[in-house]
Structure formats: structure tokens, C-alpha cells
């Protein structure tokens, strides 16, 4: 958030404010104002550090006077508070930064701004008054929702130490900075350095950062613990992924495929019978309705487009339940790229229909025969393949695990889940923020996608549900946060289930997709700092919950998803609570397991 301190006039005061390091300083060049700067001291103006944008404030001044003052004091920006029209603003644009101020109240028609969209660099929204300039009062910031242009704006009017915390919560995408003025003075034009210092502190205090840092860490978790043989592959990704994800062409292609091929946005469904049963407003985010039947396709689409841009000719993947394998085989068919999927021998037997599906889609399915013959071993085999094929092959990891940048990259591709949820929830409830967000966790990709855009909203409680298998203490479980300790697994520092000697322990869950001994490093971090709560559900609880969902809502969920649903039984809600639960996948692949369990 940028800081502009406005209404300066006294030399010593200008120097003291400069020392605080604001982004902008404003000088009022309008005679009737009590903060009229008048003749400024040229020496003082020259001493203002170049990094601070010196801004001259005018009200209906003529062009010649403005130009002369820009020349005289070396102003970098002008701020226009009168009835200047777009043509007038455009005259100065390019020469200096142009800020056009508007007074906002209920009656303000934001359409009048359209004309200015090519003529100004920034808007400044102030409280509407009869006089020109500040009133010392703030306006109803909810009105900002009506502003839809893509020109950033300063917020002005009555900002004080008392309301800065509120200001920090404004989430408008174009909110650029604050204009501090009359509430930070000892007299008009004389700034209170102590108060300003406090304001700078409040503003610069970053919200808790839950994202990845430049070295690929979330707190102590993450990194890229990989043998040198994998370094070039991972380094290429690390170097390229952000710029590729940011590229307009990439975004367009990604969003079009999500819409036309995957069928997004996936609905946010108000589950009425669930709401009745659990005494809260329960919403289902329907990732089960995606093409291929789960959230895994979001990431697979993102990564195949990335692989294409990196010039890769061959794709490898690991899969547990087969959902990620199917999603990968699908996008490879779509793009006409060779695909090899590694799958534990045991998983191949328990998810046989998905093996056939992958083969129909043209993928080669390679059994992982080492170790426990499940997901972790499939991941090992995929990594070994990647070591041997460093140049032409991209490894599409299926969850928010693996060496940096995978956890961050996969989270970004899955973040579409929470992005859509916010918008949809607002339509349902009037607020984009729910009270609870819930999801199951294997490696943690559907949960991360569901949490992503809520991470910074501390009032939204995040609940992740792991697979307890036959019970957390049974010796047959995959409840990583309950049973695991910190260590290194598949290239990242995270929490994993292991022996005292650091050997990875075989997890167990009836659901192949949750049968993994670790969790993604970002989850390990959210767990450790208590930003999210990690719970667990047993096989039995999950299967019962899956059946309940069939019978109450007519939706057969994947057994993975059923773990998240099962945890609803243990939650205590208020009747007004809004709860979003990620229905990560559909249960077609699990019919055999359901049928055997219930004997239908």
C-alpha cells in the first residue's frame, strides 16, 4: 500500500516527513486552502529524495501556471481537484503523473470516470464536500465496490490512526494507497511526525504471509531437497513458472480450457438437507462435476500448457487413486503428447477401472513394484524416470508436494477453486467470506486450492481432514499431522510419517488418494502456525458419510471427499455460519469399495 502525505508547507516539516520515506508528498498550490504552500523553499524541495514523488495539488488552475510550477519545483505529479475535464488531464499525462480527484458520496455516478480512463494515471477518491479539498471526514468505503475501471486509486478523506486497520482490509484490486492529511497535524500544514510514524508502522506491517518465499520456503518447510541429477529440471521450472503463469496468452488459454473443456466454473451448491442436519448453511463446491471427475484436472491443464511452453515432448506422472493419472492422460491426449503414468502395483489392483481409463486415453501405465507399491513408490519411480530424462520430459506432479516450485505452482493452478467460491458465495449470501472452509487432505491440493484466497482473511476458519484409516492409533493410518514429524520427503521439508530412524512409514487408508505418508509443505506450515486446523476421519466414518451424502443430497462423493464430509459430524456450528466444503471428486471410481462395504 502506497502512502501519500499531503498538505505540506514548512521547510523543517517537509524534511522531517521526507525522512519517514512516504511514496508521495503533496503540496497544495491553491490559494484559498489553509494548507496553501505559497512560495516553497527551492533548497528544501531539492533535498526531497528522488524516490518520493512530489505532487502539486491544484483546483481549476490554468495550464500555463501549472506548467510553470512543475518547471520551478520539479514536481513529478499533479493532482487536480476542480472541474478539470479529461482533455485537460490528458494534456499533462506523460509529462508528469496525473492524479484526478473526485468527491464520493451515495449519489456519485462512477460512470463519469470512464472518460478519464486514458487521461490519468491515478484517481483519488475523497469525501464529497461543498468546498474543494478535504473535509476531515471519511465516506462509506463500501461504495468503492462500484468502481470497476482498472486505474488504481488513492483513498483520501478522514484517514486517521483510528481507522487505518479498517483501511487495510479494503480488498479492492485497484486500491493503490492512502492519502494522509488533516488527522496527522498539529496545525493546518504542520504534520505531526509522531502520529505519522505510527501510521507508517501500521500500514507497513504486512499481514501474516502464508505464501512461499524466494528460496521456496514456507517458514521452515519446503525447499528443494533433490539430488543434483534433478537440479537442472527443477531449476528450469523455478526460473520459468511465474513468468509463464503471468503471461496473458497462457492465462487466456488456461481459462478457456477450464471453461470449455473442464466445464468451469464448478457450481457452488447450497446443500439444504445438509444445512438442516448440521444446523448451518452448508455449501458444496462441486469439483466432482469437472471433466474427469475431480479437481485434479485443474492442475493437469495448467501443467500441460506450461510443459508445452517449455518445449517438452514427453509427460510423466505419478498417481494413487488414478484420478491424477486419468487427468494427466486426458490432457496429454488433448495435446497429443506422449504420457507415462507410474502407479503402485497395489493401487493398480484396487483402482483397476482408472488403469483401463488411462490406457484408453493412450497413456502407458507403469507399475511401481518397489517398497510399499503405493503412491509414494510411484512418486519415487517418476522421479527416477525424470532423472534419466532431464531434457525432453516434464513431470506433472499431482499435488502440492515435491520440490519447490511444485507446491506453489500446483496451489496456484488449484486456487481457481477458492477464487470462484468467493464470487459465488457473495451471490448466495452477500458476503464473499464464509465462516468455515473444509477439505480433505492427501498431499493437499484440493485443500490448498480451497484455502488459497481465504488465507489472509483470518476470520475464515480453515479445516483440513486427513485419513485416519482404521484409527489414528491403530498402526493403519494416514493421519500425517497426528503421526508424523518434521523431515524431508520427495524433495521438500515437511511433516511425514516415519520411524525414529527416519525411514518413511507405510500409511494406510481405504482411499488411495489419501494414502500418502506426507503433506505438502504449505500445509505443514499452516498446521504448525495454527492457521488451519487438521482433523481426521476413519475409513468407517468416511464410508458412512459418503452414503449419507448419496441419500441426503443425491451426490456420490469420492471416498477421499467423504473424509471431509465425515468431519461435519464433529463440528459445532452456529445457525448463521456459512460453511463451504470442497467436493473434490465423484465416487464412480469407488463404487466397488462402497458396494463391498455396504453390501448393496
Amino acid at each position: 500500500m502506497k502512502i501519500k502525505v499531503c498538505g505540506l508547507k514548512y521547510a523543517d516539516n517537509i524534511e522531517a516527513v521526507s525522512a519517514l520515506g512516504p511514496d508521495y508528498m503533496g503540496f497544495v498550490c491553491y490559494g484559498p486552502s489553509p494548507r496553501y504552500a505559497g512560495e516553497l523553499d527551492a533548497g528544501t524541495m531539492n533535498h526531497v529524495p528522488r524516490s518520493i514523488i512530489k505532487t502539486a495539488v491544484f483546483v481549476n488552475e490554468d495550464k500555463e501556471t501549472i506548467s510553470a510550477l512543475i518547471e520551478k519545483y520539479g514536481f513529478d505529479a499533479i493532482q487536480l481537484h476542480g472541474n478539470e475535464d479529461a482533455e485537460f488531464c490528458a494534456y499533462f499525462k506523460g509529462q508528469v503523473k496525473v492524479i484526478k480527484a473526485f468527491g464520493i458520496n451515495e449519489a456519485f455516478d462512477f460512470k463519469v470516470l470512464d472518460d478519464f480512463s486514458d487521461a490519468v494515471d491515478l484517481f483519488l477518491f475523497d469525501t464529497k464536500t461543498n468546498i474543494h479539498g478535504g473535509s476531515g471526514n471519511s465516506f462509506d468505503w463500501n461504495l468503492l465496490d462500484k468502481y470497476q475501471l482498472d486505474i488504481p486509486f488513492f483513498l483520501s478523506g478522514g484517514l486517521s490512526l483510528e481507522n487505518l486497520e479498517e483501511v487495510k482490509k479494503i480488498s479492492h484490486p485497484q486500491f493503490y494507497g492512502v492519502d494522509l492529511n488533516s488527522k496527522f497535524e498539529t496545525a493546518p500544514g504542520m504534520k505531526d511526525i509522531g502520529k505519522l510514524g505510527k501510521a507508517f508502522e501500521i500500514i507497513k506491517q504486512e499481514p501474516m504471509n502464508y505464501g512461499v518465499n524466494e528460496q521456496g520456503y514456507y517458514g521452515d518447510f519446503g525447499g528443494a531437497y533433490i539430488p543434483e541429477m534433478l537440479y537442472p529440471n527443477v531449476e528450469e521450472l523455478r526460473r520459468e513458472y511465474l513468468s509463464i503463469l503471468d503471461d496473458e496468452g497462457f492465462k487466456t488459454e488456461f481459462n478457456e480450457l477450464l471453461k470449455d473443456y473442464v466445464g468451469r466454473p464448478s457450481p457452488l451448491y447450497h446443500a439444504k438437507r445438509y444445512s438442516e442436519r448440521y444446523g448451518a448453511n452448508i455449501f458444496f463446491k462441486r469439483e466432482d462435476l469437472n471433466h474427469t471427475g475431480s479437481h485434479k484436472i485443474n492442475n493437469a491443464i495448467g501443467q500441460i500448457l506450461l510443459a508445452k511452453r517449455l518445449g517438452k515432448k514427453r509427460i510423466i506422472a505419478e498417481t494413487g487413486a488414478g484420478q491424477h493419472g486419468v487427468a494427466t492422460a486426458t490432457v496429454c491426449a488433448l495435446m497429443g503428447i506422449e504420457c507415462v503414468v507410474y502407479m503402485g502395483e497395489i493401487d493398480m489392483a484396487r483402482q483397476a477401472p482408472n488403469v483401463s481409463r488411462m490406457k484408453m486415453l493412450g497413456a502407458k501405465v507403469m507399475p511401481a513394484k518397489s517398497g510399499s507399491k503405493t503412491l509414494k513408490d510411484a512418486t519415487n519411480e517418476a522421479l527416477r524416470d525424470w532423472i534419466a530424462n532431464p531434457v525432453d520430459t516434464h513431470y506433472i506432479i499431482g499435488s502440492v508436494v515435491g520440490p519447490y516450485p511444485y507446491p506453489d505452482m500446483v496451489a496456484r493452478f488449484q486456487s481457481i477453486i477458492s477464487l470462484e467460491t468467493k464470487k459465488q458465495l457473495k451471490e448466495h449470501t452477500g458476503s464473499e467470506l464464509p465462516d468455515y472452509v473444509m477439505a480433505c487432505v492427501g498431499g493437499g491440493s484440493n485443500a490448498m486450492g480451497m484455502f488459497y484466497h481465504f488465507l489472509d482473511d483470518e476470520n475464515v476458519k480453515l479445516v483440513a481432514v486427513e485419513a485416519a484409516g482404521k484409527g489414528v492409533d491403530s498402526g493403519h493410518s494416514a493421519a500425517t499431522t497426528f503421526l508424523g514429524r518434521e523431515g524431508v520427503l520427495h524433495g521438500s521439508r515437511t511433516i511425514l510419517m516415519q520411524t525414529d530412524d527416519g525411514q518413511v512409514v507405510e500409511p494406510y487408508s481405504i482411499s488411495a488418494g489419501l494414502d500418502y505418508p506426507g503433506i505438502g509443505p504449505q500445509h505443514a506450515y499452516l498446521y504448525k502456525i495454527h492457521r488451519a486446523e487438521y482433523a481426521s476421519a476413519t475409513d468407517d466414518e468416511a464410508l458412512q458419510a459418503g452414503l449419507l451424502c448419496c441419500q441426503l443430497e443425491g451426490i456420490i462423493p469420492a471416498i477421499e471427499t467423504a473424509h471431509a464430509l465425515a468431519h461435519l459430524e464433529k463440528m459445532k456450528f452456529k445457525p448463521t455460519d456459512n460453511v463451504v466444503i470442497c467436493i473434490s471428486g465423484r465416487g464412480d471410481k469407488d463404487l466397488d469399495t462402497y458396494i463391498k462395504y455396504f453390501g448393496f
Binding site: G371, R384, I387, A388, L489, Q498, G502
Partner: protein, 256 residues
């Protein structure tokens, strides 16, 4: 100076190192194998401590790790076995394994224990340069242990220079980007790669590993580097009956 530094100061070429997994094929023969290898004329040794998920290893060494774990090998036990190391073996010894067991043991405690029993170097393929440099280099130095880094044909010159600067014994040169047990590559590209490394005039000698199986590949490797490491082929020998007796013949076959 540790034994590795002394070795490289005294002998510049045709160095032979052997890798084997501790606890394989039997739990209690770690020092017997080491002793037999020294007697057979091997210059230095890599003793592997097993891990459940060895991603840089091919099927043979994977299998040896699995068996060693089933036999009950742990880092605690290995250090117990190595208590008599310097009574029986005088050539330089490196411990090789994956990072997670070391993290659980405690990196400092691991280094302290290794130094106590007379280990000279550590090879942990999945401990990256950044983490080594920022978190652990000081500990390794305190205990006079050399950390050994790997270089592949894909490693950039800049990175090789950095590795050279961080190393103080030798650089582990891989003949190709591959897991253990893959045959030595001898294409034109690979010769170029060896020549490229040679032309860089690195401070540390290079030793070629992965894919050395016989006299021919050993000699070839020695043309380009100071020596070579035999792993998979030796682990295969350990699967045979009377493997201890066969060690002298095996070594003789490699360096006649």
C-alpha cells in the same frame, strides 16, 4: 586435513573407490567388507546407510537398502559397528545416504559421531547446495568432514565453479544424468563433457561414479578423471555366496 585430503595429495590418478550398503547382505559384516576391500587394494570407501525411498538409486541398490532395513540396520547401529573402524581400516571412509535419516538423527550429532569413529567425508545426494551452505557448512567444517557434491552433464559451468569452491576433497562426476546402475555412457557428447570439466582446471580432483563395472570402464574413466567409484556391480557381488572371499578377485578384475 583428513584422510581424503592426504590421499589426494599423495596419489593423483587411478584411484578406486567402492560403494556398499551397510547391513547388506548381512547385518554384521560392515567392517569385514571394508577390511577386505582395503586389503584388496581399494583406495577409499563409501559406506551407504540405507533409506526407504532412495530416489537416486536403481533396482540393485534399492534392493540392498530394503534388505539392510529388514535386517535391522539403523544409523545408531551403524555407528556402533563403526566404533572399531580405525582399528581395522586405515583408508579414507565416506558415509553415503539420504538426508531424512540424518535430519532425524540430528545433523550436528551425525557429524560429531561420524568424526568420532573416524569417517572423513559425507555424501548426501539430496542435501542441496543452498541448504548446505546456509545451514550446515559450519558444522561439517567443525568436525573436519568433507561434504561431497555431484556434477552431471547438465550442470552449468557457474554451478560447477560454485561446487568446486564449496568442496575440499573431490567432486563426484556422474557419467550421465542417471540413477545408480546405469551403464557408463561413452558417446561423443560425454567425452566432450569430460574434456570440458578437465579444461576447467578445478581445484578439487574429479572422481567418476555411476556405471563403472569392469576394467574397461574403469580405465576409460581414469583417462578423464583421477579415479572412479564402483557401486552397483559390487553390490551385486555381495548377493553371491562367499562374497568376502571373492572380493580380492573382483578388485583385481577392475584394476589389473
Amino acid at each position: 586435513m583428513n584422510r581424503l585430503n592426504e590421499l589426494f595429495a599423495a596419489k593423483k590418478d587411478n584411484l578406486l573407490s567402492i560403494y556398499f550398503t551397510a547391513g547388506y547382505p548381512e547385518l554384521g559384516t560392515t567392517l569385514d567388507i571394508a577390511e577386505a576391500l582395503e586389503k584388496a587394494g581399494v583406495d577409499f570407501l563409501e559406506i551407504g546407510f540405507p533409506y526407504s525411498d532412495p530416489v537416486a538409486d536403481g533396482p540393485v541398490i534399492q534392493h540392498s537398502s530394503e534388505v539392510a532395513l529388514q535386517n535391522g540396520m539403523t544409523l545408531n547401529l551403524l555407528f556402533e559397528q563403526l566404533a572399531d573402524l580405525r582399528k581395522r581400516v586405515s583408508i579414507p571412509i565416506m558415509l553415503m545416504g539420504y538426508f531424512n535419516p540424518v535430519v532425524q538423527y540430528g545433523v550436528e550429532r551425525f557429524c560429531k559421531k561420524a568424526a568420532e569413529v573416524g569417517v572423513d567425508g559425507i555424501i548426501v545426494p539430496d542435501l542441496p547446495i543452498y541448504e548446505y551452505e546456509t545451514l550446515y557448512a559450519g558444522i561439517f567444517k567443525n568436525y573436519n568432514l568433507s561434504n561431497i557434491f555431484m556434477v552431471t552433464p547438465q550442470t552449468s559451468e557457474e554451478r560447477i565453479r560454485k561446487i568446486d569452491a564449496l568442496s575440499n576433497s573431490f567432486i563426484y562426476l556422474l557419467s550421465s544424468s542417471s540413477i545408480t546402475g546405469t551403464a557408463l555412457q561413452l558417446s561423443v557428447n560425454i567425452e566432450d563433457y569430460y574434456k570440458r570439466i578437465k579444461a576447467m582446471n578445478l581445484v578439487n580432483p574429479a572422481i567418476i561414479g555411476f556405471g563403472i563395472t569392469d576394467q574397461k570402464s574403469f580405465n576409460k574413466a581414469c583417462e578423464y578423471a583421477s579415479g572412479a567409484i564402483v557401486g552397483t556391480k559390487f553390490v551385486k557381488l555381495l548377493a553371491e555366496r562367499d562374497y568376502l572371499e571373492k572380493i580380492p578377485g573382483f578388485i583385481k578384475n577392475i584394476r589389473a
